[in-house]
Subunit: 246 residues, 2 copies
């Protein structure tokens, strides 16, 4: 592990919360400001940060240049985009695309709802492995041994009264999901949000992503959300076909 790299990355993360002065950054790390300056200079040279006329540091354009490459590398995202936009337009609800990578489920695209009340999320953030529909869909597609290994490592933090609270319960739920080909989050992640999700498959036949529709209670009841399933499944089938699924 590299302490110096960890420090630099920590500075980047801090700037995600807003501009900072050199003194603030040095305090954050508990180092002398000279040390912070040198770290920032390296980040600035590579365009990961820039410094404005008032010597305030900001996240730089090089960061999002690299991030846009990262998103392009996730080819499924480009294939899914028009379909997700159409689903979002047809339902008026928030539509997410998520993928399983590096042991976590992450949101890789998002189309926002027209409604004022919506689920908080952001591209790049992790989805809870035990309490989100997209995670259930992706985990359900893992080989059983790997599924069990992943589930055994989950920390079952209860977020709502509906949250799944143990590995046995989740494994049973994943069996159900694997059988029916879709998943729900019935107020398990947020008390006022219900979601349905379904897998997207590629030429290998494996689930490479999951699409979900998220709906707040004030907009539609859980039963209403389930009525969106046919549209969701139609969309994931179309994306899968474009992705070369058999």
């Amino acid at each position: 592990m590299s302490q110096t790299v960890t420090r630099a990355l920590r500075l980047l993360t801090e700037l995600g919360d807003g501009e900072r002065s050199l003194d603030q950054l040095a305090d954050l790390l508990g180092v002398h400001k000279t040390t912070a300056l040198r770290l920032m200079q390296s980040l600035e040279d590579e365009r990961f940060v820039y410094r404005d006329a008032d010597y305030r540091y900001h996240l730089g354009a090089g960061l999002f240049a690299l991030a846009s490459l990262a998103m392009e590398q996730r080819g499924i995202r480009g294939i899914a985009a028009p379909h997700l936009a159409a689903l979002n337009a047809a339902t008026g609800q928030t539509v997410h695309l998520a993928a399983y990578e590096g042991g976590e489920v992450v949101y890789i695209d998002k189309y926002d709802s027209r409604h004022k009340v919506r689920m908080y999320s952001r591209i790049g953030l992790k989805a809870g492995l035990h309490n989100t529909a997209v995670a259930k869909v992706l985990l359900a597609d893992l080989p059983p041994a790997e599924r069990r290994r992943v589930v055994s490592g989950i920390e079952f933090t209860p977020r709502t009264p509906n949250t799944i609270t143990g590995p046995q319960q989740l494994l049973a739920e994943l069996e159900t999901v694997a059988g029916q080909g879709w998943a729900v989050d019935h107020a398990e992640h947020e008390t006022f949000i219900n979601c349905v999700a379904a897998p997207v498959r590629d030429a290998s036949g494996r689930a490479v992503a999951a699409v979900s529709i998220s709906v707040p209670d004030v907009v539609a009841s859980y039963e209403r959300v389930l009525e969106l399933l046919p549209q969701l499944l139609e969309t994931t089938r179309a994306i899968s076909a474009d992705a070369g699924a058999p």
Copy 2:
């Protein structure tokens, strides 16, 4: 300057070109693979990279989570988005939003043309200071002394026969731009692309961004591109109003 941080960032940049093995990354830096491993472990812990089942490294979701914050911090981007989408739909051409930060002009948003032939660009990339319309608009709005200082530091690389080749010529062009309130790139950046650009102002009255329309020759002549000016100016005026410009 920090050698270790620079190395880590170089690894990130390399992954922008695609997945890599540990050996490849070590070769890239000219270090022992143990060293490369430790750098990657730090990057992985902070979610900037992930490693797949075949031990191949990829850019991670933490990178684009942070980038999405960076883009949100550029508030003008959100304000401009609906207007730019409308301009893109109305003209069918590629529309860019650029800003001047850290001594460079960078693309911070983009709406692609419907046409097959278009100008290559990517969010986060730098725009040439001497050969793009957005840069001319942003530089033209700097105080004269700063404008001169910036221009004197430019390396006038000729990209096309039309490219401006010296500071005096560019300063004269910027005077013109400051007077007329818009700029052109008449095949100065690419031989087959013409652009027009205009500034977006905020409550301070300063140009905080520039909007451009880029059109390939095969689609429309330079004269036709100039005919897009009224729509462009209408758009930048609307964005500026939303941004609180006086």
